[in-house]
Subunit: 340 residues, 2 copies
DNA sequence: TAACCATACTCTAACGTTTGCGTAAAAAAG
DNA sequence: CTTTTTTACGCAAACGTTAGAGTATGGTTA
């Protein structure tokens, strides 16, 4: 790469000082019309642009926000990133995305690298491994220095910072209520392992709804899916079990789509024999047959909220106590539960 | 945010010079065991980490690569980013992602911001608007300075740099051949408008296959879908036209899934009455009913290749002439074309 | 006791930028 | 013709870091 043109080189060219060049390019009245003109022409010709690193170092401000997500090939996370990016751009910030890949170690190293001056603030959705370890020292370390931090979706209540979450309990509650309303009695839950916060919260909403409707909770209808094993085989168990459900609530889109597939393979009619609802984030629910009723998570809105909290925190216009924004999901009713 | 601890502060604390502190932390033999010890203990206690901006400025190297994609809520692009990130991490680089949002202006401003010192090299997939304008001055500007640049997927041949593309012609050729082999005679093509390179290349592969099989090309079977209009309505036309096809090749997953849906609504059996193939990038094809046969694009591999070319270019281990890597897609046969 | 050497530092420049302050020369005012 | 003001610049410090060159102190050697 050719070395870029700098103030120093321009200064040398005209035999003036660096500050003269700097001021000339800023149209300072301290510099004569004539000098300004020739310096600007020269700078323009050589396409001078101030070096960002130097500016950031001097201004002690990067106008970059760092985002660490567990993965990016995931409709929900990429939608949130999209929301973050849109809002950040409006407020004059750029976005640097890093992936923790669900790994504790990578989350730590990403955080360490980003907080060493590269960004003005950090947005994180916690890695699965970290949630499993319950090791949050890396968060505490930056919080101690008042480093601006916002957590979203995968959060931990012990970490003291701004947070944005989906009302998972409410979403699962709404979804389960809907199933009860259409007459389901034996509602299976396809959820994640307990340490995934969203999974356990959605389970709470499911139980809350059953309690409200005076339906007893059957632990045999609750399936904790392990993402590291074969999903298809695990979900098949729901249908081979003697304890057969007449409805399924899945905590994500993939579980729901697989359940739908397996149900059809088992000769079941949807929604007559079995109704299915998933939490969605992507486009799958829309294109299955029948399309899946689902809890929509508003990832884009979430991204905007997260970015807003962070930038307000960076620019010191936030209230001093930390905020927790809860986004209400809504139920999108499609033909997997109601066939009109 | 509390000001971070710096060498200067540590130096002041012990009444030594900044360079003494720097050397002590680097375990230099120039500094006495005793001084080293207390400085390191102090630095450790206050969690000293060198400021990245300062290092980057001094070393004239950021170890960050910039990525500009048209959108991120798109399985193909996020998969490529994933590949880039994985490979970059292995080689000690971080990734900064920006979105052009298909806008020329935003692409230009993102490039300008990233090339002013923030990153060591740039990976770009060109925005739709830029391809439409054919205005590539912003690329020429950075190429003139030998700024490391790699284009992928949405490229332009006039831009002189390393490139990675999918063999779109080959992919469409394979897919069309498959349709011909299963007996299709009237194969419709759902493609994009002409200025999208991938759309027009896939059209070429489609035509090449028809020519090979001595099937005449019927322009009435080629539908150019406008992404800004209602997709569903546009695709409906394929089925209401008198010129009905017995197979459909769609240049992306969404077009294919919608075609499948409309076909079923029209009472057509798949694949008996009409076979459907899409180019895929996401998970939709897998969960439709029947699952869609599709051309798989290997986004992850593409990301790795792109990152490798770029980092080799940055580290000056590339051959001086520019490379063009072509990735062959493969045909994943599912039940939308072959029902066994 | 002068010359030499090792030790343990400090100084300085460099990366690229901005900005308040100082100042020489020219112009205006008295 | 002196004093003041204006013009048009240069200087230096600051952001945080590194690394080669320079130096004061003390001890060893001839």
């Amino acid at each position: 790469m050719k070395p870029r043109i700098t103030l120093k080189k321009i200064a040398r060219e005209f035999g003036v000082s660096i500050s003269t060049v700097s001021k000339a390019l800023k149209d300072s009245h301290e510099i004569s019309e004539e000098t300004r003109g020739k310096i600007k022409a020269f700078a323009d010709y050589y396409n001078y642009k101030p070096n960002n690193l130097a500016l950031q170092l001097r201004n002690q401000k990067t106008s970059v926000i760092g985002v660490i997500v567990p993965e990016i090939v995931h409709h929900f996370f990429s939608t949130v990133i999209n929301g973050i990016e849109k809002y950040a751009t409006e407020r004059g910030y750029n976005v640097m995305v890093c992936l923790s890949n669900e790994s504790y170690e990578k989350e730590v190293s990403n955080m360490s690298m980003l907080t060493n001056g590269s960004v003005d603030g950090l947005i994180v959705s916690i890695a699965r491994e970290t949630l499993q370890n319950q090791n949050f020292k890396h968060f505490e370390a930056i919080i101690k220095d008042d480093f601006p931090l916002v957590l979203f979706d995968r959060i931990n209540d012990d970490i003291e910072c701004d947070k944005v979450i989906i009302d998972d309990i409410g979403g699962a509650f709404k979804a389960t209520n809907h199933l009860v309303e259409i007459g389901s009695k034996r509602i299976a839950l396809l959820t994640t392992q307990d340490f995934i916060t969203v999974g356990s919260l959605r389970k709470k909403g499911y139980i809350k709804s059953l309690n409200k409707s005076k339906i007893s909770v059957d632990e045999g209808l609750i399936y904790k899916i392990d993402d590291n094993l074969d999903l298809y085989e695990q979900i098949k168990n729901v249908f081979t079990s003697k304890n057969t459900p007449d409805a399924i609530l899945a905590v994500n889109e993939i579980y729901a789509a697989i359940a739908l597939k397996v149900a059809k393979e088992s000769g079941l009619k949807i929604p007559e024999d079995i109704a299915i609802i998933g939490f969605t984030s992507g486009l799958i629910s829309e294109y299955t047959d029948p399309p899946l009723t689902c809890v929509e998570q508003h990832g884009f809105l979430m991204g905007k909220q997260v970015a807003e909290l962070l930038i307000n925190r960076i620019e010191n216009v936030s209230p001093s106590e930390f905020q927790k924004v809860v986004i209400s999901p809504n139920l999108k009713i499609r033909k997997s539960t109601l066939d009109d």
